[in-house]
Amino acid sequence: MTIRKPVAAQRARPFTQWLVGLISSEYLVFGLTLLLVALLAPFTPGLVSIANLLNIAGYLLPLFIVAIGVTLVMITGGIDLSVTSVIALTSVVGAKLISADGSATPTVVGLVAMLALGAGLGAVNGGIITCLRLPAFIVTLASMMFLSGFAVWITQSKNIYNLPASFLALGKQLSIALGLTITLALCVQVVLQRTVYGRWLYAVGQNPTAAYISGVPVRAVTFAAYVVSGFCAALASVMLSARLETGSPVLGREILLDIIGATVVGGTSLFGGKGKIAWTFFGVLFLTVLDNALNLLNLSQFAITIAKGTVILLAAVLDATRHRLGRQNA
């Protein structure tokens, strides 16, 4: 999206023009994040310290990875509510495999199994949605319930410990997680922007019928989006499990709304056809920094919750304003 200066604004005062430009920019959410940091930094000791930034990064990366997959699904006009359950199930299955208390298979095998399982679960979702043509919301809602119940059942509520050091290293070394995430994000963004698959993905989200008639393999493209989403959830699960040194059947249970909220705040449309990995990153960053800063401010829990809601709402209002401006300028 480029910034088109409306004729009306050119005549207006430079400040107004600047403001309009800022609001219509795709970096708006990022700008808001910086503003937030700038405003809160004087009051919150350690907000901008290296340690805290690393801390934020450690928490943010798995969220961002899940959100990447969700973004792809949302570009096709679908939604994936099952990601958190995929995180939980891959976590316990992987941990069972590699744990000294379990079958103690080599870490690499466990990792591959986790990722394959994640992709496989995504494939099941995608398969049901595309072949049986059921609404994504209800399919992934049902699989969210099922997989979560299944994860708790196979572990009989018990967490799995004693993971090998080689696995835990993935969680300790932020650089590994960072490298993985950046690679993944760049790959996905490049695929979206520069490959046939990316173009197809947007086309499917914008108008599935027109895309189908134009020879786009709509089902395969949609299916692939869910597979990637499952894979991303599994990758996040690896990072979370390693970071927390546990295979847990309730891992990630609470973060679903955060993930979808972050993606939507970033600017990806719930109705499909629109979205970018960079936007999603800004969205995740915004929510995480907000959460972190409010915590460092030592607000009580209810104040944090209220503040979070308010800021999300304000970001959304700005976003809506920006769209109206964009439409007027077109």
Binding site: L134, F146, F302, D319, A320
Partner: protein
């Protein structure tokens, strides 16, 4: 042959419901007792009432994630007032007012400022839960017995919650099918821009829909209070998903313009509760609950989609 197949599918959701009833009936002799069926209805009433309001919202292609939070705030306020010694009617009024305030807030942002409903109601979900925690000081509150008496009171030997649920369903059905506002909801849900051009005041329609959803949430909070007699910090949590699931199970489309309350949402809400009830009655393994529920939801939606299938290769 084809006709028969279609005819069968027509009744698939009802058929499915019957299968569930028959299955649990065979497992436990007490399951099909009228008493238990009334139990199911009462237990389904809170989610059901929220789902009725949610159906209105879904019909306009919107969504209301804030219903659970509205329930919590309403219950918290009512609880505080009751504990302060005010009588039941005041508490009831206060709950409705809370429902209206929060949903008017939703309506303002969604209808007037055109912010996507998903984000607005997600934000009010956070704000509402925060407010509720603040009001309750994150403590559980045990309310005076008047609430429990209200919840277990019977009229013509049917408990009040079931009456409220029934009234909500009938009223909603009347509004949706027999008022111009109701028919305009379907028009707005099909295409809001087209509806505006056709002379419908879409902003008003959208706003009203959220107000209805908020009102339903407040009434549902009352019903829940009547059954529990207590407010805990988890009051109403995840209600939004249960309500959406019930409405969608009843055949309401998430993309707007299609759906009904009677029998759709009623059946959806009751079906989910029937499964939960049956599982307890048959002393099922606690671990199996979510899995069985999700499979039944899935199968029901699958049949529903077969029924509505159009021969077009892709449809939203």
């Amino acid at each position: 042959m084809k006709r028969l197949y279609q005819r069968l599918l027509e009744f698939a959701p009802l058929f499915m419901f019957m299968v569930v009833l028959a299955f649990f009936g065979a497992q436990s002799s007490r399951f099909l007792e009228p008493r238990n069926l009334v139990n199911i209805l009462v237990q389904a009433s809170s989610t059901g009432i929220v789902a009725v309001g949610m159906t209105f919202v879904l019909l306009t292609a919107g969504v209301d994630l804030s219903v659970g939070a509205i329930m919590f705030v309403a219950a918290a306020v009512a609880g505080k007032m009751a504990l302060a010694g005010l009588s039941l009617p005041f508490s009831l009024l206060a709950m409705l007012v809370v429902g209206w305030l929060v949903s008017a807030f939703n309506a303002l942002f969604i209808a007037r400022l055109r912010v996507p409903a998903f984000i607005v109601t997600l934000a009010t979900l956070f704000i509402g839960r925060g407010l509720g925690l603040w009001i309750t000081e994150t403590r559980a509150m045990n309310l005076p017995d008047s609430f429990l008496q209200f919840g277990s009171a019977r009229f013509l030997s049917v408990p009040v919650p079931a009456w409220l649920f029934g009234m909500a369903v009938v009223l909603a059905h009347l509004v949706l099918t027999h008022t111009s506002f109701g028919r305009q909801i379907f028009a707005v849900g099909h295409d809001a821009e087209m509806a505006r051009k056709a002379g419908i005041r879409t902003e008003m329609v959208m706003a009203k829909v959220y107000l209805i959803s908020g009102t339903c949430a407040a009434v549902a909070a009352l019903v829940t209070l009547g059954q529990l007699g207590a407010v805990s910090p988890k009051f109403g949590e995840q209600k939004e998903f249960a309500a959406i699931a019930a409405a969608v199970l009843g055949g309401t489309s998430l993309f707007g313009g299609r759906g009904n309350v009677l029998p759709g949402t009623l059946l959806g809400a009751v079906l989910i509760q029937t499964i939960e009830n049956g599982l307890v009655m048959t002393n099922a393994n606690p671990y199996l609950y979510p899995m069985i529920t999700s499979v039944v939801i899935f199968v029901a939606v699958f049949f529903e989609s077969l029924r509505n299938r159009v021969s077009r290769p892709f449809s939203a």
